[in-house]
């Protein structure tokens, strides 16, 4: 299935869990912000969230320092 990831088409496994997608992208769930179809998902929702074809996903990764 295809999703929009950070504005680009992205081929993902059908019904992939968000936590699995993050793993495959080597993203630390503690250091990111995820928005799906305009709603923010908090870290406790990552493993229970299943993505669907056509979902629009934005992932922001933070680096430390301030």
């Amino acid at each position: 299935m295809e999703i929009q990831l950070n504005g680009k088409a992205f081929e993902a496994d059908p019904d992939i869990r968000l936590s699995r997608l993050l793993e495959s992208l080597k993203l630390d769930p503690q250091q990111i912000v995820v928005e799906r179809n305009g709603s923010i998902l908090t870290i406790d929702q990552f493993s229970a969230t299943t993505l669907s074809h056509g979902d629009i996903v934005e992932i922001v990764q933070f680096v430390g320092g301030g």
């Binding site: 250091q31 928005e35 923010i40 908090t42 870290i43 934005e58 922001v60 680096v63 430390g64 320092g65």
Partner: protein, 268 residues
């Protein structure tokens, strides 16, 4: 002829010059301000001129001070920002500089939250002083903000921000600045705030360490409510420390984005 001396109306004979007035009213004045600008000449006064006479070491009274400080504020901007409220989560390198910039702008209310104490290693980039080492950062910053602009109301909260207190702390602000150090804290605050306080803009930062080119620090709009400042990749790590110039540039970006949002303009 009517003029205003230190914000009080005063009648003077037509043709009176600035120096005549100052020698009559305050002969020991070190600084003469005419209509908002220091004046060293001796022009004749005009109707409704505003004159302020200041003696070195003397702090002007509150009303005088407000009028004097407002002389450099842009009309239309100041009225809006003085009625605004901004939250700052974390007052390290970014947050302390954002707070000072907003205080100088005359933002009416600042809510500053941090659990940390001032440490010697902070002084390479954070807006504290040696004699403040060991104080809670929020208390030291409140003192520095009050010294900068006593007209700003500062709410200093010495506490750790958690998902549970985000809304009580920051639910009433017009804009929130994320100014934490650790990446996981940034993520916690941004996710927590966007999900709990929809509609309030948030200006965060990521990628401000080192001494890479200043022009790589950008302000970007990420979602409807979220703006991120930084180069997106320069993490603080061994060999790439946090340094005053680049952290200051990022804080300036954040403060300017906040000002634009307060004035109803898009930051980017």
């Amino acid at each position: 002829m009517q003029v205003f001396l230190n914000e009080c109306e005063l009648t003077v004979p037509a043709g009176t010059t600035l120096k005549q007035l100052s020698s009559q009213q305050k002969s020991d004045a070190d600084l003469i301000i005419l209509n908002g600008f220091p004046c060293y000449a001796d022009p004749p006064l005009n109707e409704a001129d505003r004159i302020v006479l200041i003696k070195r070491g003397e702090i002007p009274a509150q009303e005088e001070l407000e009028a004097l400080m407002m002389a450099r504020h842009t009309p239309g901007v100041h009225d809006k920002v003085r009625n605004s409220s901004v939250g700052i989560a974390g007052v390290g390198g970014l947050g302390s500089a954002i707070a000072l910039a907003l205080a100088r702008l005359g933002v009416g209310r600042l809510i500053i939250v941090d659990f940390d104490l001032v440490e010697p290693s902070n002084l390479n980039r954070q807006q504290y002083f040696v004699d403040q080492i060991g104080q809670p950062k929020v208390e030291a910053l409140r003192a520095n903000l009050q010294r900068t602009n006593p007209l700003v109301r500062v709410e200093a909260i010495h506490d750790r921000v958690t998902p549970d207190n985000i809304k009580p702390l920051f639910g009433s602000v017009d804009v929130l600045a994320e100014a934490f150090d650790a990446a996981d804290q940034k993520s916690m605050l941004v996710s927590g705030f966007l999900s709990r306080c929809p509609g309030i803009p948030l200006v965060a930062a990521s990628g401000v360490a080192g001494y890479g080119p200043a022009n790589e620090i950008l302000t970007e709009k990420v979602t409807k409510q979220l703006y991120i400042v930084g180069d997106g990749r320069s993490a603080a790590q061994p060999g790439q420390g946090l340094m005053s110039p680049r952290v200051g540039i990022a804080a300036g970006h954040q403060a300017n984005a906040i000002l634009r949002l307060l004035l109803g303009e898009e930051p980017v």
